[in-house]
Amino acid sequence: MLPLPTLTQERENHWLDRFDPRLRLLCALLFALTTVSLQQIPLLLGCLLTGLLLAWQSGLRAGPLARRLLLLESLMLLLLLTLPFTVAGETWFSIGPLNASGEGLQRALQILLRANAIVLVLLSLVGTLEPVTLGHALGQLGMPRKLVHLFLLSVRYIGVLFQEYRRLRMAMRARAFVAGSNRHTWRSFGWLLGMLLVRSLERSQRVLRAMKCRGFHDRLYLLSENRWHSRDSLTLLLVALGCTYLLILERTL
């Protein structure tokens, strides 16, 4: 199985799954594009709220979600601490020779809100898709075939390689290996990685041979079951209208 914990519980007939995966991708894209072009803090707050609402409604589990957001927030903290001092503008307060500007603070807040809103929407709309479904949707949206297949093959074999890693690691532990900060540890990890690379290479050769046995001649196929319904078109229209409305508000407020 995949090494990452899944974001959602096993679910059936969730309302999100009734929509075409392509719609979910397109909506996430529209939302992201709109959010990055907004400047007004109240509008960005609205975007964040949308993200939160969506995350709640799509049934994301709080634990894994918080862990992923925490990664983002650590980067955001860096911005919050540095931007006020590096953007020129009216002085807000000063520490010694350093002047913090109000403009800098505002810039930092904008980035904080935007990033969180977009990540939340991506996680709830795209992150909840089965990786294989995501690959198919990308293929149907006309993304380059080679990239889509690379993505799908990665999805297929990442688990196999992870199992191999786990077996090797277990075998090391079974022989009383404890990681420390010494030469022996580094050398052993080097061998572990090297062995994984060699095994992956060998596996890829075996996979290619198996593909040749089934008549592979440089073409891969995708069979997609996704159907675009009228409700998908309607939703896309509504989302597009919403985004346009936000952009108009941004100009006129």
Binding site: V155, K212, C213, R214
Partner: protein
């Protein structure tokens, strides 16, 4: 006797610095189910892969389906007519979903998407795998993976089946199911196996690979009368429907020649 489907004459093959096959002769005829036996590293898998041109022999001739085969183009046709089932199903199943994996072969053979899909669904149905069609391949269990791998090979409608340890890693139930399906297949087969039960039930003939040459194996059965104690596990304290006396019967057996 009818002409052989696949014939090897004086075939040699070396791994770098180490000879593996030193002059192998072999013929597979229609209707035969041949077990390929031999120790670890004897070159059994290599021999199967040589037959479909995944390696090139050092010396010798490979004929398949009435023609001598030499280059990649020749072997392309061989691979379409002789299906090879790999030892590790993870090597064979590389598509995102089961159905996509099974249609991969038929599509490569030039069938349209609709035809390929109906072939795939039919094969899945005969193997009792219909309900797995839409599943993601890496989430299948070991036994399911092996059956789907067999389906991907059968979907190409081969005339010969080459199988590399088809039952390793399967539990008793999964093995039983696989065996039943294999027994029902009309194709000529050559299979590598260490599984005595599989060889006994499936093989009509056995060949033995030792020291780089192939010798005809002699399969014989003798009536085997024996009484013995065998391991029998049931939970302690539960009524298993029998008594345990102190003395377990000693293992006795006698071979009687008939």
């Amino acid at each position: 006797m009818n002409s052989p489907l696949i014939q090897l004459q004086d075939l040699t093959f070396d791994h770098p610095g180490q000879p593996v096959l030193k002059g192998v002769d072999f013929a597979l005829h229609p209707g035969e189910r041949v077990a390929l036996l031999g120790g670890n590293g004897a070159g059994k898998s290599t021999l199967l892969q040589l037959m479909v041109g995944l390696y090139r022999p050092g010396r010798g001739r490979i004929s398949a389906f009435g023609r001598e085969r030499q280059n990649e183009n020749d072997f392309r046709e061989v691979r379409a007519r002789a299906g090879l089932l790999f030892q590790d199903a993870d090597d064979q199943l590389f598509c995102p979903t089961v159905l996509e994996d099974v249609v991969f072969g038929p599509l490569n053979l030039g069938h349209s998407e609709g035809e390929a899909r109906s072939i795939a669904l039919r094969v899945l149905e005969t193997l009792g795998l219909s309900r797995h069609a839409g599943r993601v391949t890496h989430k299948l269990s070991g036994g399911e993976k092996r059956m789907v791998a067999l389906a991907t090979v059968l979907a190409m409608e081969p005339e010969v089946l080459l199988m590399d340890e088809p039952t390793t890693g399967l539990d008793e139930q999964a093995e039983q199911r696989l065996l039943e399906h294999l027994e029902a297949l009309p194709q000529a087969m050559l299979f590598v196996s260490h599984d005595r039960r599989l060889v006994e039930r499936l093989a009509t003939r056995a060949v033995l690979l030792t020291d780089g040459v192939l010798v005809e194996g002699i399969m014989h059965r003798h009536p085997h009368v024996h009484t013995h104690s065998h391991l029998h596990v049931h939970a302690a304290g539960l009524d298993a429907g029998h008594e345990h006396d102190e003395q377990t019967p000693r293992h006795r057996h006698s071979h009687e020649e008939i």
